[in-house]
């Protein structure tokens, strides 16, 4: 009975995600005016028939920007999350599996990464980047940087989990049966790390979306005129001005819905696996 309800929730969450992904991919048809066109005569306008979510401060259709921004964030935040999870699995998983000096060395490197002032490093990276890069390249660079830098916390969790697996009965049994090295890690350890990897992956997505928004303030995020959830969320700065304009909360609402849907997919997968 419980697993049947879980399946329904899972399908519902999948449907929501598919719907969001679908409409974002169909943005060219739903909002043919595009995300960059400036309707300057109706800047900062409330919702209307022409502009369902109103226009932003320079007259760009907010609905179109939400659709295109969703496309960018939904494609690139998971890509960055995947990158960071892979790095975390490699560093943390192997360190925990190998144990001893390897684990200590890997965790020392992880701690070093955690202690570095990444904000200043990112500012430095942006400062030395070439200026004439297209907005699309700037998006890719942003998310790759996030993916390469966001693995440390996940690596610690994975190291601890892999370490506990190393002493488990089934691993000992596998070793006694003669399975060793990469084969043991691949067949017996990695599948058991999967729930943790999934969790780290899903957790990273909203973190990266929000990180992108923060980086945008420092000039490290998605370049104009390309939208992203991060840049759209920047509209919520200054609470004084937002209270009377609830439609500006749509990107935030969408982010919450998508992250919740991801969580449902994840938790139900774990439940089913159990």
């Amino acid at each position: 009975m419980r697993s049947r309800r879980a399946v329904i929730w899972r399908w519902l969450a999948c449907a929501v995600l598919l719907f969001v992904v679908g409409i974002s991919l169909a943005a060219n048809f739903i909002a043919p005016a595009g995300y960059a066109r400036q309707y300057r005569e109706v800047a900062d306008a409330p919702p209307s028939h022409q502009h369902w979510l109103g226009t932003d401060e320079i007259g760009r259709d907010r609905f179109a920007r939400v659709l295109y921004g969703t496309r960018i964030s939904l494609l690139l935040a998971p890509a960055a999350a995947l990158l960071s999870t892979l790095v975390a699995a490699l560093v943390g998983g192997l360190a925990g599996y190998l144990g001893g000096g390897w684990a200590r060395a890997a965790m020392a490197v992880t701690d070093l990464f955690l202690s570095l002032p990444w904000l200043f490093l990112l500012i430095t990276v942006r400062a030395v980047m070439p200026l004439n890069v297209s907005p699309l390249v700037s998006v890719m660079v942003t998310f790759v940087m996030l993916g390469l830098l966001g693995w440390t916390s996940a690596a610690r969790v994975l190291c601890a989990t892999a370490s506990s697996l190393r002493g488990s009965d089934f691993v000992r049994q596998a070793k006694a049966s003669g399975i060793r090295g990469v084969r043991l890690f691949w067949i017996h350890v990695l599948p058991n790390l999967r729930p943790v990897l999934y969790a780290q992956f899903w957790i990273s997505i909203p973190v990266f979306i929000l990180s992108e928004a923060n980086l945008g303030i420092l000039g490290l995020g998605v370049a104009e005129p390309l939208p992203s959830w991060g840049s759209l969320l920047q509209e919520l700065e200054g609470l004084v001005s937002v209270g009377s304009e609830p439609w500006k909360f749509v990107p935030l609402l969408l982010l919450a819905v998508v992250v919740t849907a991801f969580q449902f997919v994840l938790s139900n997968q774990e439940e089913l696996a159990a």
Partner: protein
């Protein structure tokens, strides 16, 4: 007799009531940064300037409303024909806040301290027009003449910034001649000023000024918090207001916000013209071309920038000087017209051609360049994005880059690794001498091509000559002619492409009486001694 007594009593009650109403209350507002010094001679930062304005007594004061110079501690003054000497006749019977009498000795002491090279005073630098010492001659306790080694442009106006210090008071800079004196200072949190009991001014009815008992200044860097506190009536004034906040407040309480019209500040962009910059040669050729710069300027819709980005609280810029600067603005200059077609024609005349929606130069290079602005400044980011769309209409692809301020400054002043930059210039003074560091080709702040050994173009040489003419002359008409010509050259050559002049927006609580916001700092409390609270 009884009637007379009743009348006297009634009059006394009236006076008492009025006097009480005028003399009570604490004005509250925020400064965004902490004042770095209370020594009026060492002031450099904006917050210290504000404190100096509230506490310092000056010989002459520029009326922030009329922009005319008015006597304060000096009853009258005279500048010699050669612009080297100024003679003041001083007010008598004036005392510092600690009771020390004010005399010509204090003026001489202040000037000598100010001009001491060891002090490195930014205020003093404005008087340093040539090598040599400044001589002060005390003619009598109420008369003094000051002689400078070389003519000082706008000599009398410079004294607006010179707060007189006591030569004899043990309290030194804490003994003041202004309407208020420092009472309590909690670093990083609050500065409280109390009324100077010895302030010399009275109002038309003979009442002693200032009306207010005290001023509480909170150090609040966050403008959102400042706005919230104003809405909660925790502070009474906001000196400079964002156009977005202005409109929000205006919809509910229009009587609280004030648009004083165009300010002196300018927003501009410029192209990198530094010969040693690491840009490709073909881009250097574009940026060195006045025709290219003029075409870019013509393709920018300034009306839209003013109307959309600043919600109508800005005016399209005409040239280097805002029309708000009543005397120095060159009224012969025409507003810059927006015409993408004319811009494209001008570029085509220079060998550029439009191919499949992309503008290319005569060598086939697509016209693509980046513009940097400081991250976090929403107005500039929006202007850059609008200009991006404007230039797209003539086939130019503009990449908008926002950088943190130190990185931007490093590219602008050290590496010269940039193509175009958009920034603003906050003009505090009205006199063109204040802009010498921007216009002289040898200056480090000559942004488009700093620290030129010799002027690299004929028009820069001409600007150098004209700026020196206006800086070394005491003849106002001659100075005006020279600076008018500088403005004409600047508009013709477009080393800076001026975009808009932002309006001076401020907010004043309904409880404040006597406020009349202006465009020049301190916008809301320039007449602080006459402000009172309901």
């Amino acid at each position: 007799m009884l009637a007379l007594r009743k009348s006297i009593l009634a009059a006394a009650i009236c006076l008492g009531a009025t006097g009480g109403a005028w003399a009570q209350g604490e004005l509250r507002f925020c400064l965004h940064t902490e004042p770095k010094t209370f020594d009026p001679l060492k002031v450099e930062d904006e917050s210290s300037v504000m404190v100096r304005y509230l506490t310092g007594g000056v010989l002459l004061r520029m009326n922030r409303q009329t922009q005319a110079l008015e006597p304060e501690l000096a009853l009258s003054w005279k500048v010699s024909k050669d612009g080297k000497q100024i003679t003041f006749k001083l007010r008598s019977g004036v005392s510092f806040s600690d009771g020390t009498p004010f005399s010509a000795e204090d003026v001489a002491y202040t000037v000598q301290q100010l001009m001491d090279p060891a002090l490195h005073s930014a205020t003093g630098d404005a008087f340093r027009s040539g090598p040599g010492n400044v001589e002060t001659k005390i003619i009598s306790p109420t008369q003094i003449s000051i002689t400078f080694p070389a003519p000082v442009a706008g000599l009398d106006r410079q004294f607006d910034q010179v707060a007189i210090m006591s030569a004899h008071s043990a309290k030194k800079e804490m003994a003041v001649l202004g309407p208020f004196m420092v009472d309590e200072y909690k670093a990083g949190a609050t500065l409280r000023l109390k009324r100077n009991p010895n302030f010399w001014k009275t109002d038309a009815q003979g009442r002693k000024l200032p009306y207010l008992d005290s001023i509480k200044i909170d150090i609040q860097p966050n403008r959102d918090v400042e706005m919230l506190r104003f809405k909660r009536s925790e502070i009474d004034l906001i000196n400079t207001l964002d156009s977005e906040y202005y409109d929000k407040v205006a919809t509910t309480s229009p009587q609280l916000v004030h648009d004083a019209g165009p300010s002196l500040d300018t927003e501009q962009l410029w192209f990198n013209q530094v010969a040693k910059s690491p840009l490709p040669a073909y881009k250097k050729t574009w940026f060195h071309s006045a025709a290219f710069r003029r075409a870019i300027s013509q393709a920018i819709n300034r009306d839209d920038l003013s109307r959309v980005v600043f919600r109508g609280h800005a005016q399209p810029a005409i040239g280097p000087v805002s029309p708000a600067n009543k005397f120095w603005f060159n009224a012969r200059l025409k507003p810059q017209t927006y015409s993408p077609d004319a811009a494209l024609k001008a570029l085509q005349a220079e060998g550029f051609r439009l191919e499949n929606g992309t503008l290319k130069d005569s060598f086939g290079n697509a016209v693509v360049f980046s513009i940097i602005t400081n991250s976090g400044n929403k107005a500039r980011e929006r202007m850059a994005t609008m200009i991006q769309e404007d230039l797209q209409k003539i086939g130019i692809h503009l990449n908008v880059v926002t950088l943190d301020f130190p990185s931007l400054i490093e590219r602008m002043t050290q590496t010269f690794d940039y193509e175009a930059i958009m920034l603003g210039l906050a003009n505090v003074g009205l006199d063109p001498t204040d802009q010498m560091n921007v216009w002289l080709s040898s200056s480090e702040n000559h942004q488009w091509n700093p620290s030129e050994k010799t002027p690299e173009t004929a028009w820069e040489a001409e600007i150098d000559r004209l700026m020196r003419v206006q800086a070394s002359s005491a003849d106002t008409r001659k100075r005006k002619e020279a600076f008018d010509r500088v403005q004409e050259i600047a508009v013709d050559q477009q080393p800076f492409i001026y975009l808009v002049n932002k309006n001076a927006l401020s907010a004043v609580s309904a409880s404040v009486q006597g406020a009349s916001p202006v465009i020049i700092a301190p916008q809301t409390y320039w007449n602080v001694e006459r402000l009172s609270l309901k």
